[in-house]
């Protein structure tokens, strides 16, 4: 058989492949000063000295490579973040945007970014005044002023389809009495209006008026290249969406970052997508990726293979345990038997938090007994203040019998478990509490059984639980199919605990999980047992307001936009109303109300808090050091958070 007939087609195919691979637009290298027109003129990275090591086209000693958390950008050419979702963690959020205010949850404060001070409201919260920072400039040299803020609010309010369009309908009037002051008049009192401009992984960002006022159709405007108020400006990006590169502005000192913290050290920052955790591990071992958030297993692999790698904590449990999100289990409280608080409490007491933690994260977590995360600020203002109440909190088991469920010894038992696994664990009790949590709920299956029996549940001959009507008690725990996510870890740990207790529980691993949660088509779900609080401010309004009875859709199968548990309580409604009438700057009153609200959630247990979200963050210190690890918390540690820009001035090059 002759091979000749195949030779020509094969060559043609290879040629076609080469040509087709060239077909996408060039990686766009963006010139700094151009405003509206898309510029594709290649401007190569300045030639470094000969001995400079070049990695992926950038001088390595001046470049920081970070992993992009949300994956490949869907619309890499589009930087118009006022429309839809834009994979902003490719550097837009962290390096280009400056909000009015930024949450700093690790330090426990709100940073005045573009704003010069916290917002000031009038007495009935119908007027908000914002003082702006002076001397801030857009990356094209135009000064940032109150006109930009006024224009943004007016434009977003007037344009249907823009993010925050609905929220701004409450604005009656907005004006700038001077260049650096903005006054917003509201149609209805709203003491939390400013939080739309408070960046906690997203907020309403300010548009450059001099660009957007010339745009006819803002919805289709690509905003490429974008202007920056942050210390970096877009350098280039991959049209396929796998990487985006940023370069330090020459006038970095005219940005809030520069004014607050000084000059960011890396000249270039490149965000790269690694779709497979194994690739990210290899990249870190090869010193091609400085900051990554991985799975616990991948974190261990990097620490083993790369002597220069470090995690947030230098020793076990390595992970970031100060994240402002609480993980756990949310009950569908409109669905029997989860509409019964004693059933919910029985399921809580049927969990042994030690074996649960071992199954979920091999013990590398911070258990949290409240439906709010164990960030430093909340440990101080909520966990510590509530400790006496928690110790005294009592459940009524019926027949005059009571039970105190709080277990302050749980973190010490988890530390013992970790020691038994051969990990190095602190000896100091205070350190143990800071590492593993302040306490949890007792493992009391006998008490759980009493609570169930009190409500008509019985055990079958096989020891399994039967519902009050005598049918077997079966339910599912719904989760996201991503095995690296805490939803998934919580699901399988809970299923194991409850099966051990004698309930026929299954995991429902479902691609459509977010829709099923939204429509109340689940029994128990692991998609956040409470809405995330700010973390860097004591206000729990946004957590509590999601349980507001005014929003609850009582018909399961119809979408519900509050917390997925659909739980509500008249006492919580009162707390929400009281918070709404409390000034954001009156922190003592806010804490008081927060404690009262948290007490109600303990009594009612609409969801079981298990542990504060942990991030398996790994830094390679081969090129950059002085990362904000647990021993040196000067900033929140994630590279995908907007505060990354505030961390960059503190990093130090190693000179390699």
């Amino acid at each position: 058989m002759s091979h000749k007939p195949f030779a020509l087609p094969s060559l043609l195919l290879i040629l076609f492949w080469m040509l087709s691979a060239c077909a996408p637009a060039a990686p766009v290298v963006v010139e700094k000063e151009v405003v509206v027109e898309k510029v594709v003129t290649p401007t190569p990275v300045p030639a470094p000295p000969k001995e400079e090591k070049i990695v992926m086209g950038f001088p390595r000693s001046e470049t920081l490579f970070a992993q992009q958390l949300t994956g490949r950008a869907g619309t890499p050419d589009n930087f118009n973040e006022w429309v839809g979702w834009k994979n902003r963690d490719r550097g837009m959020a962290q390096l280009m945007n400056e909000p009015l205010w930024t949450i700093e949850y690790a330090v426990g404060e709100v940073i005045n970014s573009l704003a010069a001070a916290p917002p000031q409201y009038n007495e009935d919260f119908t007027q908000m005044t914002v003082k702006l920072r002076e001397g801030v400039y857009w990356s094209d040299g135009v000064e940032f002023t109150a006109d930009d803020v006024v224009f943004t609010i007016e434009k977003v309010k007037a344009t249907e389809g823009l993010n925050y369009h609905v929220q701004l309908q409450g604005v009656k009037n907005v004006y700038a009495p001077d260049k650096y002051t903005v006054v917003v008049e509201l149609a209805e009192p709203n003491s939390r209006f400013h939080t739309y401009f408070l960046d906690r992984w997203g907020s309403l960002f300010i548009m450059p008026k001099h660009v957007f006022e010339k745009v006819e159709d803002i919805l289709t405007f690509q905003y490429n290249p974008p202007l920056s108020l942050g210390p970096y400006v877009l350098h280039s990006y991959d049209p396929a969406g796998f990487w985006t590169a940023w370069v330090l502005r020459d006038d970095w000192d005219r940005t809030p970052t520069g004014m607050l913290y000084g000059k960011p050290k890396p000249k270039y920052v490149v965000f790269v997508v690694y779709q497979d955790p194994a690739s990210a591990v290899i990249a870190q071992v090869r010193h091609e990726l400085d900051a990554a958030q991985l799975t616990l297993e991948a974190l261990r692999a990097v620490l083993t293979q790369n002597p220069h790698a470090r995690a947030y904590r230098r020793e076990f449990p390595w992970v970031v345990n100060t994240d402002p999100c609480i993980t756990g289990l949310a009950f569908n409280t409109l669905k029997p038997p989860f509409d019964n608080r004693e059933v919910r409490w029985a399921l809580t007491l049927a969990i042994d938090i030690i074996s649960y933690s071992a199954n979920a994260m091999d013990g590398a977590l911070m258990m949290s007994a409240l439906l709010t995360p164990s960030v430093p600020l909340y440990l101080k203002e909520y966990y510590e203040r509530m400790e006496p109440w928690l110790r005294d909190f009592t459940l009524d088991l019926g027949g005059g019998e009571t039970f105190k469920p709080y277990d302050p010894e749980a973190p010490f038992r988890l530390a013992e478990y970790a020691r038994s696994r051969g990990y190095v664990v602190p000896e100091d009790p205070e350190e143990i509490k800071k590492t593993f949590g302040y306490g949890w709920w007792k493992y009391a299956p006998d008490v759980a059984a009493k609570l169930l029996e009190k409500n008509g549940f019985t055990r079958g001959r096989d020891g399994k639980w039967l519902l009050p009507d005598g049918t077997p008690w079966k339910f599912t725990v719904l989760t996201d199919p991503n095995p690296g996510h805490h939803h998934y870890q919580n699901t399988f740990a809970a299923v194991q605990e409850w099966r051990k207790f004698g309930i026929d529980v299954e995991a429902n691993v479902n691609e459509m999980w977010s829709t099923l949660n939204l429509n109340g088509q689940f029994d128990v779900s692991t998609a956040w047992p409470a809405y995330e609080p700010w973390g860097g401010h004591v206000d729990l309004y946004r957590t509590f307001d999601n349980w507001n009875s005014a929003y609850v859709e009582r018909e399961l199968g119809k979408p519900h936009y509050g917390h997925l548990s659909r739980w509500s309580d008249p006492r919580m409604d009162q707390i929400i109303a009281a918070l709404k009438a409390t000034d954001w700057n009156d922190t003592e009153r806010i804490i008081e109300l927060g404690i009262e609200g948290l007490k109600i959630t303990v009594e009612e247990m609409p969801g079981i808090p298990t542990y504060t979200y942990v991030g398996a963050l790994v830094w390679d210190t081969y090129y950059w050091t002085n990362w904000p690890g647990a021993e040196n918390i000067y900033a929140q540690p994630y590279h995908h958070w907007p505060n990354f820009k505030y961390m960059l001035p503190f990093l130090e090059p190693t000179g390699r």
Binding site: P24, P27, N163, V270, A283, N519
Partner: protein, 335 residues
Amino acid sequence: MRFVRRYLIPRLVQYVLVTWLGITVVFVIPRLLPSDPIESMVATLQAQGAYRDPAAVKQMVDTLRDMYGLEAGLLEQYLSFWKRLLSGDFGPSYFSFPTPVIELIGRSFPWTIGLLLTTTVLSWIIGNVTGGLSGYFTGNGMLKIFDGIVMFVRPIPYYVLGLTLVILFAYLLPLFPFGGGYTIGAQIAFTWDFIKDVLRHAFLPALSLSLLGIAVNHQTMRLIIQGVKEEDYIRYAKIAAVKEQTIFSRYAMRNALLPQITGLTLSLGQIFGGALITEIVFSYPGLGFLLYRAVVNSDYNLIMGITTISIVAITTLILIVDLLYPLFDPRIRFR
């Protein structure tokens, strides 16, 4: 005329019907799923951590539903879809609103077609040649060794094979990059340097796809040719002292190739669905990930865009093969 009336026209009618039916089914099925593009969008926006009070979210959903035209009835949406399709427009992506679907597909399409077309065709050619030789010349020692290698490679799950190649040739022996379509920061230009860069990046994904493709084609062809070898006409040719090479190439391979050509056609059609695992393991740009994200986010327009192209490609290729079959197999012409 008889060929046109009895063979060509029925197949053309069948082609149009199957294409229409396929597209219609794909239009309806995503709308039966419990998910919804607006709800996915809302879930993503909420996952950002930015504050949106529930009342505002509800109003936002209503606004977006109206803006995307999802308030209209199913029939109205269907008619509007065909109207747009016939003018070559799939509409905007809901999840990446307002980017047109055709632009999203156009961005990923060249990478997928370049990688999968080449590897599918090459592995088909190599696998069929080696499988044919191995099935016909069963006593050859070298071919037996090759059979052994194929038997070893074939059961390896694709993800494991891809990852093994990355570890071997990108990490332990750093000969190739372990991901991406080209070097980060590289300037795309039609220069030899850039072409080399693209080929270097494509080598491992292409190798992984080719290895499995060759193994599958090899084993299938080997089995087919072993059956053909026992046919009477082969025996007759041997008795008639026709040269062994001639029997192999003209009689055995030619007949055994017919089902393989059909297989190739279907494989080529499936190219348009992309290669999701390849794209994940090698961070390679392509249609697979786009389609996956479209399904997860219920991005109806994007699902319709990709699957319509895929359906049209498969039915068209099958039509072409149907029309070409009489050239390969004279028996079809005489029926």
